[in-house]
Subunit: 264 residues, 2 copies
């Protein structure tokens, strides 16, 4: 089954969901992950496969079929590699984790909208909205799993969905000084988030990698878009991220040059 | 298993999904459907069950557990009543129908935003955006199922998701004169939609019922909200919809009175 290929953008949270799921199943070698350079136009061979759409990740099956959308792909991998099951088998428990999973869309939008914001007057409102998202997760966990660490006994489906987002939101800590307050109404979600981030099967990316690659998002430029006065996107492959310096944090006051970002 | 109860608002498309699914399984008597009067505040006993949230439908299990979200509920019913399966069993086919299912959110938002619009200058743009939604469905079906009627051989999961929306969008025909053009780029989705609407398991509601109940949506008032100069919502239980006259179509020029709507 190593003829499955996932095409993804660098450090993509939706692709990491698939990596975590495969890792939980001991199947990380069954899928070939191929990173696509998003600072260039999508290559023709890829557009042919995706029928012109540019959203990634996509999975190509052994016979050339294309499947899109990370949650759809998670279910596909769960179905073709059923053991060990990551999704709950009991119908009610499965419904619980599906309800939590359905909260991911708003959570993604809020976090990305926040990091990409360029209007300093909106900063406080965006922080409050982000906190509301965490409070909603906290409420859900308090209702359905008040005393566990994870939603159920072990790291599972909902954790696979949310962990890559918790990790991406390190960019909020760095560029927005966002922190979950040490308050009771975030205590349950904090416990969950921290355990997700520390779990041995979720170590595909590091804080340093995310902070460096997502610098351009913090300046409002997503998906490899090039900022004015810059010749290289923070998502370029070369120079590789470990040899670049940490970017400046003060996004509302200053835009770093290619040189300062170690991109030359 | 008749201790399952679904609480829903009148003529709710998301509740109809569950009715269709159960009907396909011959299990329509296994769930009690209880309609909630949305023209009044949610009763305390219901708010207690839902922990304060007002969104419907919700399902209550035999032991009082509450499950929300129609797509989550569909999966729950599929799991507890596995025969006959409505979801595809083959992983790739299941991924196909899941991809189509993920297109429902935008489709809902576009259709409801269109019917609720009150600004006549936006009417043409909203029509074009709605047509784009149908064109996307057409493309998807042409890619994955060019020659079938349904996505696969029979009416299945994706049809259960979309049929209640196709039926609700009768309100667009009536209040917005929206029609799918007789053009090649809508031919596949038209064939699909028409077969969905005519299917014997989807006859829980009628065009007349939808047009009469959703009159207030056409004037911008959703979820049982009361319009100025009106004493009753079009969603009241009494007088029952069959004895009311058809509402006026000219929503941008005229707002009917309670009396004209047969609500007194």
């Amino acid at each position: 089954m190593s003829e499955l290929t996932v095409y993804h953008i660098p450090v993509c949270p939706f692709s990491q969901r698939l990596e975590i799921l495969l890792s939980l199943k001991g199947k990380q070698d069954s899928v070939h992950f191929q990173v696509v350079d998003i600072t260039k136009s999508r290559p023709d061979w890829l557009l042919k496969k995706t029928r012109g759409t540019t959203a990634l990740p996509v999975l190509e099956t052994a016979d050339g079929q294309i499947i899109k959308e990370s949650l759809v792909l998670m279910q596909y991998l769960e179905d073709i590699f059923p053991e060990p099951a990551v999704a709950q088998q009991n119908p009610y428990k499965r419904a619980i984790e599906n309800m939590l999973t359905r909260m991911e869309g708003e959570f993604v939008n809020q976090g990305y909208g926040y990091v990409m914001n360029q209007d300093i007057t909106r900063r406080e409102d965006l922080k409050e909205s982000m906190l509301k998202q965490f409070a909603k997760l906290n409420d859900f966990l308090m209702e359905h799993s008040p005393s566990n660490v994870f939603l159920f006994d072990d790291f599972g489906w909902a954790e696979t969905v949310f962990t890559p987002l918790f990790m991406r939101f390190w960019f909020l800590e760095y560029y927005e000084e966002f922190q979950l307050p040490q308050e009771e109404n975030y205590a349950r979600v904090r416990k969950w988030r921290d355990a997700c981030i520390c779990h041995p099967k979720t170590q595909q990316v590091t804080k340093e990698q995310i902070v460096k690659l997502y610098y351009d998002y913090a300046l409002g430029a997503g998906n490899g878009t090039l900022l004015t006065d810059r010749k290289k996107s923070s998502f370029v492959f070369e120079p590789d991220w470990p040899i670049r310096p940490w970017p400046p944090k003060n996004k509302y006051e200053y835009q770093a040059t290619d040189n300062e970002l170690g991109l030359c």
